[in-house]
């Protein structure tokens, strides 16, 4: 990396970005903070309640469950998507027409609107009209994502794996393509095993992209809303209600502005912490290079 020039005038180049993002980020965030300390009936009837909502939110067992479910979910999909993504990336051809074709085919799920992803799986998983549901009942599994919590959970995870493994795969693929052919030639001369090639040539090159991949997947799964909303509506019971869903239920469904805002802030702080840890890791790794 070349050294950068010190120049504070560069701020003028960043200013438009700052203004446009600040408009959409800072003003709403301030509003959320304001809401979180008040009991609001309408803009003119509101009472200052201090930290009461925070206490309520922090001690709310439903939210604890949602948070736990959220972490469990995020780790489950990461544990499946990362290895699977690496495998797919290793299998994808790097040259020729096959490369472009497989790239486009693999990327398709990423380009589908999230509610359509939900719809696709809603249809696909039904025993009466969907292939997957019919297949499951065909092999004798009593499968119904709308009434059985385990099945619902399984379907949501499967949907996410289907939807987002391509992202990990494409990230790894671009990492693999950046490895110079010389490395492989050297390995061939040394008669390195397939595993050794992977462990000592490919994996080190992949760490960078994998961290980005894990960051993106963790964050996006942490804010997942639309897909489970369409597929299961958070049910049966609350078995697939994740953080965003509980939040939207509270804010829009019950119109509890205060608690919803306090919840938002706690949620946001967790995100900020995780995001900072990842960011620092990425930046330090780039510095080491």
């Amino acid at each position: 990396m070349q050294t950068k020039v010190e120049n504070n005038k560069a701020w003028f180049l960043v200013l438009p970005v700052f203004l446009i993002v600040a408009f959409s980020a800072i003003i709403p965030l301030m509003t959320v903070v304001n809401y979180s300390v008040q009991d609001i009936f309408d803009p003119y009837t509101r009472y200052f309640v201090g930290t009461e909502w925070f206490k309520q939110v922090m001690l709310d067992s439903r939210l604890h469950e949602a948070l736990l479910r959220q972490f469990l979910y995020s780790f489950t999909i990461l544990a499946i998507e990362v290895p699977l993504g690496i495998c797919v990336a290793l299998m994808m051809p790097t040259k020729g027409r096959g490369a472009s074709l497989s790239l486009i085919l693999v990327a398709i799920p990423l380009l589908i609107p999230w509610n359509v992803v939900g719809t696709i799986w809603q249809i696909f998983g039904r025993a009466d009209i969907g292939l997957f549901g019919a297949f499951m009942s065909g092999i004798g599994v009593d499968y119904n994502y709308a009434s059985d919590p385990t099945d619902a959970w399984l379907t949501v995870v499967l949907m996410d794996v289907w939807h987002w493994t391509p992202l990990v795969a494409l990230l790894c693929y671009s990492g693999l393509r950046a490895i110079p052919e010389v490395y492989y030639q050297a390995a061939r001369i040394d008669q390195a095993s397939r595993w050794a090639v992977f462990r000592y040539i490919q994996l080190p090159k992949l760490t960078n992209v994998l961290i980005i991949g894990v960051l993106l997947r963790f964050m996006d799964s942490f804010m997942i809303y639309t897909e489970p909303f369409v597929l299961t509506g958070g049910g049966p019971g609350s078995s697939t209600t994740f953080l965003s869903q509980s939040l939207v239920q509270q804010a829009i469904g019950q119109f509890d502005l205060g608690p919803a805002a306090a919840f938002s802030l706690v949620y946001f702080l967790i995100i900020l912490l995780v995001c900072w840890v990842f960011y620092t890791t990425i930046m330090n790794m780039q510095k080491d290079k």
Binding site: V14, L29, V32, F124, I212, M223, L243, S244
Partner: protein, 298 residues
């Protein structure tokens, strides 16, 4: 024919025999692994496309056929579902609305992100790292957190139910993403090019437009693609900020539920039509998209 084909084969055999002690086992192994890889890839892609195939399949069926049982091909092939969408303004306007705000978002994101990414990739300035992190944290923030204030913010400035409102709201995550990707691509361009251009008497705007932008064309294409993609797939904000005039197709799709029972065929057809634009766009950037997925940081 026989003559000409036998010679090269025997010739080949000669070579393998010669190299046998060094390569043949490893090579055979590699070929086997390659074959297994191809098979695995095909299997994966088939499994990947199966749900989509099922959707497409359903979109060409009538509702009676859908509900009467499973079949891999529509027995009673019909375009009725599509005709319904293209014949009804409330349906097809949803697509127009979506494409409209997505394009607006794409243009805004690129225009503001290009100079900023240049600043991040070339200069050190006070608070640069923190600014970069703050941008990134906005990409990661869940839209659900901002839902209600967004609604009130855009209502209070009179932008509720306009395309620009959704485009601006999507800037929240697309601008940081665009800056991040573009910064990655720009860092790959050697600084010497900038310096030479300045020595040659180019002013900054002229240099940026004439020399720099053409250099990172592929990066811009990929960034545009990502802005398109994330704005196109997002529903929560788009649905909250619109009611009639700018309602996105994704929100209109819920209409199929409220009608008498579920109109599965229509739902499937609408879904298929939302997949097409993405496939068109990815075709144009297919050669660079892999690098873009790594946010230009390979």
């Amino acid at each position: 024919m026989t003559q000409s084909s036998t010679t090269p084969i025997s010739h080949n055999k000669g070579i393998t025999k010669e190299q046998a002690p060094v390569y043949s086992r490893a090579e055979r192994k590699a070929r086997n692994a390659n074959l297994r890889g191809r098979f695995g890839l095909v299997l994966y892609v088939v499994l990947l496309l199966l749900p989509i195939y099922w959707l497409v399949n359903m979109s060409f069926k009538t509702n009676t056929e859908i509900l009467s049982g499973l079949s891999f091909f529509p027995a009673d092939f019909t375009l009725e579902n599509y005709a319904k969408i293209f014949g009804d303004a409330t349906w097809y306007m949803g697509y127009v609305n979506s494409i409209f705000y997505v394009s607006m978002n794409m243009v805004i994101s690129l225009i503001v992100a290009l100079p900023a990414a240049y600043a991040f990739s070339r200069y050190k300035f006070i608070g640069d790292k923190h600014m970069f992190f703050w941008l990134l944290s906005n990409r990661m923030a869940p839209p659900a957190v901002f839902l209600l204030p967004f609604f009130q913010l855009y209502s209070s400035v009179g932008l509720f139910d306009t395309h620009i409102a959704v485009a601006l709201a999507h800037c929240l995550f697309n601008v940081p993403l665009a800056v991040w990707i573009l910064e990655g691509f720009m860092s790959g361009v050697p600084r010497e090019i900038d310096e030479t251009a300045y020595i040659d008497g180019y002013s900054f705007p002229k240099f940026f437009m004439r020399i720099f932008i053409p250099l990172i064309r592929s990066g811009i294409g990929v960034t545009a693609f990502f802005c398109f993609m994330f704005s196109w797939v997002e529903l929560l904000l788009a649905r909250t900020l619109t009611s009639v005039d700018a309602k996105p197709i994704a929100a209109i799709m819920t209409r199929t539920v409220s009608a008498s029972g579920m109109d599965w065929g229509l739902l499937a057809a609408a879904g298929v039509l939302t997949i097409l634009p993405g496939m068109l766009v990815i075709y144009f950037v297919r050669n660079h998209v892999a690098k873009g997925f790594a946010l230009g940081r390979v």
